[in-house]
């Protein structure tokens, strides 16, 4: 016991096992930094990649261990209420682990080709992943903010890592400034919540709302303002309209593997925080925030799809499509029911694999002028398996049956229908139909036979070298997309079991 400012501070008892995922990631990051700094030139090139890969796999395994632990002894609150150990946190831990492994595999050849420093890249990736897991398991707003910042700062630097390219610099700068801007909103939102409830703990906020119902407390306006500001910060992270402007520029400018990580793990972490705050802590006032999220969903869907349609650069197109997918996930979130939350989780998991796979294919090729769509013509002809995999990812994102994307869309729309928000369900379906055009355009392009030789550079059209690691990652993501499309039950049940509970 240490007296602090006259109060007695009791060091919390810490369940170290429950922190295994974060500790593995942190430890691996530190190991990479220390070893590569000490050995400098003598550090073998493969070292950091292998450590990161092992760390990712370790997190995955520990995630499974925790999953069964929770199943046996129930969810619990750890580090004296700062973090929750529940199925929800574990689902995101597994998702982040998958994203880390995929990113490391895809980045392997990419880093070498683009002459980028791999120890820094891997260390930052692991730190960002730690932040993402903290965000998903935080049950205190301050802890959540710490996770958010760890994730964001890692990503700012990773976006800029291709420092020979001007676009990368510009993207990182924009991301940083806007990220800081929205973080300020988020932080101010925490202050408002603290001001009205007297605590930053989510459990306190819920209790406060319960009392609100029985009219013991009045003046909810400060809390509502807090809601709004928290939502701004998270909507920025998941790239919902109108907080999305950074996403296309940043996704396009960043190295493709990093874009994949942003669209999967970072987006998932944002939604994890959103679900925990709104569904769990503020579930009482669902009627207040649900229509707001619904409108946000529709605007996001419309802008994402419409803007994606007019793009000519594949990376930018996928960036806008990623915005549209945030809209679908919001459709699940706004339902505010267990079913809706499970649908959103299912969607996040399946979408993450598809978008990681898509960016993995994109990362195989890099031209001076970006990734214009017509450069991908004939890809399927030259690399049939890669072409097929990309087709699967795109069909999945379009929501075609027998892919995981179909089930995901079906579930979120069903959640909206169950809550009788017909307008939202209908809008999502109509936009989904229009959105299919985006992906079909790309599919037609890659299966079209190429027009022999590019007229300007005389550069032969897409026949990229496929490094084994990337190929492995791409095929894995494809298999997942198809298997979940055929046999969705296991993932549906996984998502249902992971619906969060609030621990006091």
């Amino acid at each position: 016991m240490i007296p602090v400012l006259g109060q007695v501070f009791t060091a919390p008892s810490i369940d170290w096992w429950a922190l295994a995922p974060q500790l593995i990631l942190l430890g691996a990051a530190l190991l990479i930094l220390v070893v590569s700094a000490l050995l400098a030139e003598r550090c073998p090139a493969w070292f950091s990649g292998v450590v990161a890969l092992v760390a990712g796999a370790g997190v995955f395994v520990s995630g499974f261990y925790l999953w069964y632990d929770i199943r046996d002894s129930g969810p619990r609150s750890i580090v004296s209420g700062a973090l929750s150990l529940d199925g929800f946190a574990v689902l995101f831990t597994l998702l982040v682990a998958v994203a880390v492994v995929m990113t490391v595999l895809v980045a392997d050849a990419y880093l070498e080709r683009e002459h980028m420093d791999s120890p820094e890249f891997h260390a930052l990736l692991l730190l960002a992943a730690t932040g993402a897991i903290v965000m998903a398991s935080a049950s205190d707003l301050i802890v959540l903010f710490l996770g958010l910042e760890s994730l964001s700062i890692g990503l700012y630097v990773m976006a800029a890592m291709q420092f020979r390219r001007e676009e990368a610099q510009e993207a990182a700068m924009k991301y940083f400034i806007l990220g800081a801007f929205s973080s300020a909103f988020f932080l101010y939102g925490i202050a408002m919540v603290y001001g009205s409830t007297g605590s930053t703990g989510l459990a306190h906020a819920r209790d406060y709302l319960n009392r609100l119902d029985t009219a013991i407390v009045d003046q909810p306006w400060m809390l509502m303002l807090g809601f709004a500001l928290l939502l701004v910060g998270l909507a920025f992270k998941v790239a919902a309209v109108p907080f999305h402007f950074w996403a296309p520029d940043v996704y396009q400018g960043s190295p493709a593997p990093v874009s994949g990580f942003m669209a999967s793990a970072a987006k998932a972490a944002g939604f994890a925080a959103m679900l925990r705050i709104f569904f769990v802590a503020f579930g009482q006032s669902r009627t207040d925030w649900s229509p707001v999220l619904g409108v946000l969903a529709v605007v996001t869907l419309v802008v994402g799809v419409v803007m994606a349609i007019i793009q000519t650069d594949l990376k930018r197109m996928i960036a806008f499509s990623s915005i549209a997918h945030a809209g679908y996930i919001l459709v699940g979130v706004q339902a505010g029911t267990s079913e809706g939350t499970a649908a959103a989780l299912f969607y996040l998991f399946s979408y993450s694999l598809m978008v990681l796979g898509t960016f993995a294919v994109i990362s195989l090729v890099q031209w001076q002028d970006g990734q214009p769509l017509d450069r991908f013509e004939g890809l399927a002809d030259r690399r049939p398996l890669i072409g097929f995999a990309l087709t699967v990812f795109l069909l999945g994102q379009a929501g075609v049956p027998l892919t995981s994307g179909f089930i995901a869309k079906f579930l979120v729309i069903k959640a909206a229908v169950d809550e009788r928000t017909w307008w939202l369900a209908i809008a999502a379906m109509v936009i989904s139909a229009a959105g299919a055009y985006i992906y079909l355009r790309v599919i037609f392009a890659i299966w079209r036979r190429p027009g022999a030789v590019d007229e300007e550079g005389g550069e032969p059209v897409a026949a990229p070298v496929v490094p084994p690691a990337s190929g492995f990652a791409i095929l894995g993501a494809m298999a997942f997309t198809l298997v979940v499309g055929f046999v969705p039950q296991f993932l549906i049940e996984f998502a249902r079991d992971a619906v969060p509970v609030l621990l006091g």
Binding site: M224, P242, D288, M307
Partner: protein, 660 residues
């Protein structure tokens, strides 16, 4: 062992996927071997499942394996599951068996084709779909397979799509089959709304609750579906044209397997059919009429494959007659023997066509028996089987069907009439098949005779202009023909199928008291829906003797005309028969006239209203995109304004909500 059932369709699917990914790289002949290997493996697994099914008691030979809930939507539950019962496993056995042989044959037949590997891609996809059709445990899964085989059939008919006629035939098959699919879908909807399930076992249990009218409606809709797929009157028109596809396709899809899907569907739904005597009678009449009609048309065809195509339509008619008489086992028995001998005949015809440098007109063949001994001998086995000469397979199965028709308790002696027509059709069958055998394998060689110039386009030119003697302008395309025996990959399947065609009757031999293996095996499936033969041995023997006599008369008459040339054959072949009673032309005229006008109207409406709306939406979307684009200016300050405005909007809304 039964749990392995999922492997049966999974193996051809794996073959399909491998060939899609790497078919072009594997190339000829390896792609063909891969496809053959996967199909044969599927056959082996089916056989294993069958053996373990036999190990159970006769009453317990039903096994359902549900893989997962496929479409859980409200109270409609569609499982992805397999129903393994004697009916399904019998179908799966002969489908995989015949498929394996035809895959093997195709390795030789498609030799040198530029799309060699693509052919096997489609073929494996077909086998997968067909197995889903027969193994699915509910109507929706069967429909999935039904559509799958339809799509493969379409792709394979127009496989050589650069040939105008092939492309047209593909389209025709596709459109005609649509009509049948419509029947299938309506039947499924009706079943679901009345019984609340689409699973076969549940349908079987609940069917007694069906009102008579509903049962009739469902049965007739199923008949529409079956008539489309199995080429019955009046939807048969696509099958003769389907011969444009490569010959292995004709043998596999358009003779042995896919076209029997209609018979399978009706047998599977027998619990519903049994509640509607009216529709059973209609099915029997449609089948008999088709059998007679197609047999008449077959007597006057010159194209070696067209004869077999009409013959297939006719034999399928027999199977419908059997279903309509409640003799499901007889229908399946005939389906199996027919699969053997018709696949054999088609493959033999393919072998002949191959040897004759793609000549299909029987008038320019003859005496091929000497140069193609194996093809000739096996073809003759097939001929005797289909003609109904004992003890070959066709005799036994056809006899079963005719016996069932004889006993059918239709009002006003309907059964006897159908029996008589069926008997006459059997005579015709013996005649046209003998005609074919004599024209192709006996007599003198006409291989290098001059061909008349082809009429440029039959649809456009008035037939009256061609009254005069046929012009004898030699067509250059046919250089000297030197027929030869085909490679082993082609004749091995012929020999195996010939064995089946010769001995297939053993499956259900009535002579040895207790044998009747097939009937005993299938009986539990059709318990309560099947008609049991009551006739005594005397009647049975008499009917069999009459049928045999009919077959022999047919053969004798054909020999008079085509072997010994005592009668001028051309007089027996009026134009009307050659053109199959002008049904095709009538359809063409109708669809060319009022039909086309209607279609044009629909197309115009579609273009102006529907496309207009769609294009409008598309254009509007793009325009909106360009309208929004300036916001994505790349300027950080503008982006920040976006965030600020959004924040203001959210805060205002939530605050108003809080205050109000």
């Amino acid at each position: 062992m039964l749990d392995l059932i999922w492997l049966v369709p999974a193996l051809p699917l794996a073959g399909f996927l491998i060939l899609v990914a790497a078919g072009a790289r594997l190339g000829e002949p390896r792609a063909g071997w891969v496809a053959t290997a996967f199909t044969s493996a599927s056959f082996v697994v089916t056989a294993l499942v069958w053996i373990s099914l036999l190990g159970r008691d006769a009453e317990n030979r039903v096994f359902e394996k549900v893989l997962f809930d496929w479409l859980p939507a409200g109270n409609l539950r569609v499982e992805a599951g397999f129903l393994v019962d004697p009916l399904a496993i019998t179908m799966a056995l002969f489908v995989t068996f015949v498929s394996s042989l035809i895959h093997l044959y195709s390795v030789g037949y498609m030799h040198g084709d530029p799309k060699f590997s693509k052919f096997f891609v489609y073929l494996n996809l077909f086998v997968f779909s067909m197995l889903m059709l027969v193994l699915g445990n509910n109507l929706v899964l069967t429909f999935l397979g039904w559509e799958g085989v339809g799509a493969c059939s379409y792709l394979l008919i127009s496989f050589w799509h650069t040939r105008e006629s092939a492309a047209r035939a593909g389209k025709k098959a596709f459109i005609t089959n649509r009509v049948g699919d419509w029947g299938f879908m309506l039947a499924t909807f009706l079943i679901f709304t009345t019984l609340g399930t689409v699973t076969y076992t549940d349908i079987g249990a609940l069917a007694p609750n069906l009102a008579g009218g509903t049962a009739t409606a469902v049965s007739l809709l199923l008949l529409v579906a079956a008539a489309g797929k199995s080429a019955q009157l009046p939807l048969y028109v696509w099958l003769p044209d389907a011969m444009e596809g490569p010959t292995p396709v004709s043998a596999l899809i358009h003779a042995a397997t896919m076209v029997t899907a209609g018979v399978y569907l009706l047998s599977r739904m027998s619990p519903v059919l049994v509640h509607s005597d009216v529709s059973l009678r209609i099915i029997a009449v449609v089948g008999t009429a088709t059998a007679l009609f197609a047999a008449l048309a077959a007597t006057a065809q010159h194209d070696i494959k067209k004869v077999l195509a009409y013959s297939t339509v006719s034999q399928l008619g027999y199977m419908f007659l059997a279903v309509g008489s409640g003799a499901y086992v007889a229908a399946l028995f005939h389906m199996i023997t027919h699969a053997f001998f018709k696949a054999l005949l088609f493959l033999g015809a393919g072998s002949v066509i191959h040897a004759m440098n793609d000549e299909q007109d029987m008038r320019y063949m003859g005496a091929l028996r000497k140069v193609m001994p194996i093809t000739g001998a096996t073809f003759i086995v097939g001929w005797l089987a289909i003609a109904g000469v004992p003890p070959f397979a066709g005799f036994w199965s056809k006899d079963d069907i005719l016996l069932a028709a004889w006993e059918m308790d239709g009002g006003g002696g309907l059964g006897k009439v159908l029996w008589a027509v069926g008997l006459f059709t059997a005579l015709l069958t013996a005649y046209y098949m003998s005609r074919q055998v004599f024209m192709v394998f006996y007599g003198e060689a006409h291989w290098n005779e001059a061909r008349p110039a082809p009429a440029t386009d039959n649809d456009e030119v008035d037939l009256a202009e061609f009254e005069g003697p046929p012009e004898t302008v030699t067509v250059e395309a046919h250089s000297e023909v030197h027929p030869h025996e085909s490679p082993w990959t082609m004749w091995v399947p012929l020999v195996v199928l010939a064995t089946g065609a010769a001995l297939g009757g053993l499956l259900n031999l009535p002579v040895i008291g207790d044998w009747l293996f097939l009937e005993r095996f299938l009986e539990p499936v059709f318990a309560g829906t099947m008609h049991h033969i009551t006739a005594g041995t005397g009647t049975k023997l008499l009917l069999a003797a009459i049928a045999t006599t009919g077959a022999l008369i047919g053969i004798w008459f054909a020999a008079q005309v085509w072997l010994w040339r005592r009668v001028d054959g051309r007089k027996l072949e009026p134009r009307l028969l050659e053109d199959a009673f002008e049904v095709d032309a009538a359809y063409a005229r109708f669809f060319g006239g009022p039909g086309r006008a209607t279609a044009q109207l629909a197309a115009d409406t579609d273009r102006v209203v529907v496309d207009g709306a769609v294009n409008g939406v598309a254009q509007g979307t793009r325009r909106l995109g360009f309208l929004l684009q300036p916001a994505q200016s790349g300027l950080v300050r503008q982006y920040a304004i976006g965030i600020a405005v959004g924040a203001l909007g959210l805060a205002t809304w939530l605050l108003i909500g809080a205050v109000a």
